[in-house]
């Protein structure tokens, strides 16, 4: 009993980290756009769905190799993100936060509809990245795909840190987030930076979709729930705080897995919402956010 108890715990941890990695990536996408524009992009979950479904088509129907399909998918979804910003966010004459948020909701409905037209209502299967056998660890089963997910999450996090701290373009995006007018006076084109942050968010969303699809089987309607849980993670980590988002995403995934394991798997989706509510009641700035951090909007 004690052995199987430990096995359960490890198994739940693995499942939690795997789901949490996806929430973390969705949350980072939310944060990048939030920092650049002050809005929540409700189409973030749709980027994940598009990434997953495009990957399914490229690998399963067109038989492209994994790396090629991966790159093509990320590029395609990034282009969707850029188009979204250019066609729906950029032209708004007097951009108030509420207006922009409503626009993102509309875009999410449109993207969902488009995905349904293209890929149908069924869910889509995709091979795991590698055929290696599952690894057994103290009785718990770890899928190789889980390791891929964790590895790619790490790469994305490191990539973002390097991008925002050591490249000129990344610093320009941060500058816009910190002080829009000062950035404009330094000669930074703020509208271009907003576009870039949509591109970046879409790209990260696509990566999240690609790596999770082999495990959950993607369908057109998954975006809303993924987006909601990613949003929960973003709020839990402190809106705008990307490192907070990673920790909070993983935490949310793990809590969800334990909730599903020890309470009931029926309430798994409710866990995220419950946590979101509790955070909003007790500490609206998130566990890693302080009012100071909210003001500074550090990445």
């Amino acid at each position: 009993m004690s052995h199987s108890g430990l096995t359960d715990i490890i198994q739940f941890m693995v499942m939690g980290v795997q789901r949490g990695a996806i929430y973390a990536m969705v949350a980072m996408g939310f944060n990048i756009i939030y920092n650049a524009t002050g809005i929540i992009n409700f189409a973030q979950g749709e980027f994940v769905v598009l990434g997953g479904l495009a990957m399914v088509t490229l690998t399963m129907a067109l038989n492209l190799s994994l790396p090629v399909a991966f790159i093509l998918t990320v590029v395609a979804v990034t282009v969707v993100g850029i188009l979204m910003e250019r066609l729906t966010i950029n032209p708004v004459g007097q951009p108030t936060v509420l207006r922009l948020i409503i626009i993102t909701i509309a875009v999410s409905i449109l993207l969902k509809g488009a995905a349904m037209c293209i890929w149908g209502k069924g869910s889509h299967y995709m091979h795991h990245f590698t055929d290696a056998a599952p690894i057994e660890f103290l009785g718990a089963i770890i899928l190789p795909q889980t390791l891929w997910i964790i590895g790619i999450l790490l790469c994305v996090v490191i990539g973002l840190v390097v991008f925002f701290n050591y490249t000129m373009i990344g610093k320009c995006i941060r500058a816009c987030a910190i002080n829009r007018d000062a950035a404009r006076l330094a000669g930074i084109n703020d509208r271009k930076m907003v576009m870039l942050s949509f591109a970046l968010s879409a790209g990260i969303g696509a990566i999240a979709g690609i790596i999770i699809t082999p495990i959950i089987q993607m369908d057109y309607a998954r975006g809303a729930l993924l987006g909601l849980k990613g949003f929960g993670a973003a709020v839990l980590g402190g809106l705008g705080n990307s490192m907070g988002a990673v920790v909070a995403g993983l935490l949310l995934g793990i809590l969800e897995a334990f909730g599903a394991g020890y309470i009931s798997s029926h309430y798994m989706d409710a866990m995220a919402l419950l946590i979101l509510l509790v955070v909003l009641f007790i500490k609206p700035s998130g566990i890693f956010g302080s009012s100071e951090a909210m003001r500074l909007k550090e990445f």
């Binding site: 000062a182 950035a183 404009r184």
Partner: protein, 245 residues
């Protein structure tokens, strides 16, 4: 070099700039005097493109620049140091300077940017000492110097300065004014300066405008403004005591 012709600007329904026409010649330091809310800051914002104008025209070096976005104007050589030390607080001093020179980086590459930063460090040795510190941890005077240094990184020909002495100790104010005067002399920089400390501003300025509720009411050589009874009464204070001497 810079010419505003009958510029009108509004904040919503409030008419803040009423037919403002001013000019700044190459190599001059021009100052604008006026009470709070007279429209001084707004005037600078219309020049740098932050504040939209309803009517009128703005020319810079013979080109019309009305309605151009700020980033374009920076490229043309207009740098605006806005009030309240607008720097990127959670970033290092070095990163702030890099961002200030972001156009130089785009045009000439990393090497030139590095060389430019070294030049700026020559002008502001204190910033070199603090290069790795977060800008938000600098003292008020150092932050103001950083704000000016960032503007200089863009290699401007016209510098718009909004209240550079606000909230600073008299000693620091003196240093900053010496710096501004030096920039004009050594770097042939043209300066349009707004300042609460009217006496200090007129000391280094060549000419001055007086703006009242959005209207230019007086334009004169700085020396004459210093001697003008009306100006003395309204902006210089009755006491002739120098605050920093």
């Amino acid at each position: 070099m810079l010419r505003l012709v009958n510029v009108n600007s509004y904040y919503g329904l409030v008419h803040v700039m009423k037919n403002v026409s001013i000019h700044v010649n190459e190599g001059e330091i021009v100052t604008m005097l006026g009470a709070n809310g007279a429209g001084k800051t707004t005037t600078l914002k219309t020049i740098s493109g932050l504040q939209p104008i309803r009517s009128g025209r703005i020319y810079f070096n013979g080109h019309e620049i009305t309605h151009m976005p700020p980033e374009k104007l920076v490229e043309m050589g207009i740098a605006h140091v806005s009030e309240g030390r607008q720097i990127f607080q959670p970033m290092s001093v070095h990163d702030n300077l890099e961002l200030g020179g972001h156009l130089i980086y785009k045009l000439y590459g990393k090497k030139t940017l590095k060389a430019d930063i070294e030049k700026i460090f020559g002008l502001f040795p204190i910033l070199k000492e603090r290069r790795q510190q977060y800008a938000g941890t600098l003292s008020g005077g150092e932050q103001q110097m950083l704000a000016i240094a960032m503007a200089l990184m863009a290699r401007p020909r016209l510098l718009l300065l909004d209240e550079p002495s606000m909230g600073l100790a008299p000693m620091i104010v003196k240093e900053i004014f010496r710096l501004i005067a030096g920039l004009q002399e050594d770097h042939r920089l043209t300066v349009l300066l707004i300042e609460q400390n009217a006496r200090a501003a007129l000391r280094i300025a060549d000419r001055g405008y007086v703006i009242e509720t959005g209207r230019i009411v007086l334009e004169e050589e700085a020396k004459e403004l210093l001697a003008n009874q009306e100006v003395k009464r309204a902006y210089l204070g009755k006491e002739q005591r120098e605050i920093w001497e």
